[in-house]
């Protein structure tokens, strides 16, 4: 957001905006490199994350839900699931209760892959929290919560 800051007053709040963008960029690069290293597309990684999150939350995922979450149309979603299936990360199975549906189940391999991606980052980030006491971490959490709401709000009003 430097690009536009030239017309803006600088200040503590702007500094945080810059930092947040930098963190976002860094995360994106990290994901992109991980994906490339494992022969995945960025979309595949996003799908993997979504599937693992859903699995953890105990939710069943169908191609339709996955596609909606990733903003893909049905054709693209089919291609994505084909790809993930070919990589041995997910398996398709018919939902016997509503036989129009296909259920996606994540393989152990996917969990391992997810761990190998997130593990190091999480470790580093948790380590970054060392040197902050409880109340400081609470302050950070409060700020990030507000920033998240702000970004979501900006997206809604702009979109």
């Amino acid at each position: 957001m430097d690009a536009v800051a030239q017309e803006r007053p600088e200040g503590p709040a702007m500094e945080l905006v810059h930092l947040l963008r930098a963190v976002t960029v860094e995360f994106d690069l990290l994901g992109a490199e991980f994906a490339a290293r494992h022969g995945l597309h960025p979309t595949d990684l996003r799908a993997l994350i979504h599937l693992l999150d859903a699995a953890r939350a105990g939710e069943t995922v169908t191609p339709g839900r996955l596609g909606a979450a990733l903003r893909l149309n049905s054709a693209g979603t089919t291609g994505l699931v084909d790809r993930l299936e070919r990589l041995g990360l997910v398996a398709r199975s018919r939902d016997e209760r509503d036989r129009r549906r296909v259920l996606l189940t994540v393989d152990e391999k996917a969990v391992g892959l997810g761990w190998s991606f997130f593990g190091p980052v999480i470790g580093a980030l948790v380590g970054a929290a060392d040197g902050f006491d409880e109340s400081e971490l609470a302050t950070v959490r409060r700020y990030l919560t507000a920033a998240l709401a702000a970004a979501a709000g900006a997206r809604e009003s702009a979109g």
Copy 2:
């Protein structure tokens, strides 16, 4: 990073990891929606951001530098610049000092577009900083700086 948290102890630090990822996702969605709304590809938006940052820093950008920053090969970079030129966002001009080079100059239109993207987000984020006093903002800045370093470190050691 929920996906992996099932095997991890929860705690204040993990909460922040979740929040950071949520903010990243939100920013990505925001960028994707803005891009789609203006007939841009995600790559185009990233290029625009890079060009505006460089312009602000007073640096000259060539197709080669831009492609390297976005991790594109030369063919893809040519296509990208063609696209941006067709959209009237940048112009190509020969560097008279090293006539192998092409210099990219950003049009006013690009600056306006950048502003229309960043303006609302920045405003919302600065607003999110209300309700925090100076020392609290300093704490947040210290944390984000550490998190940035952690992410960069994770990328380096994993990459």
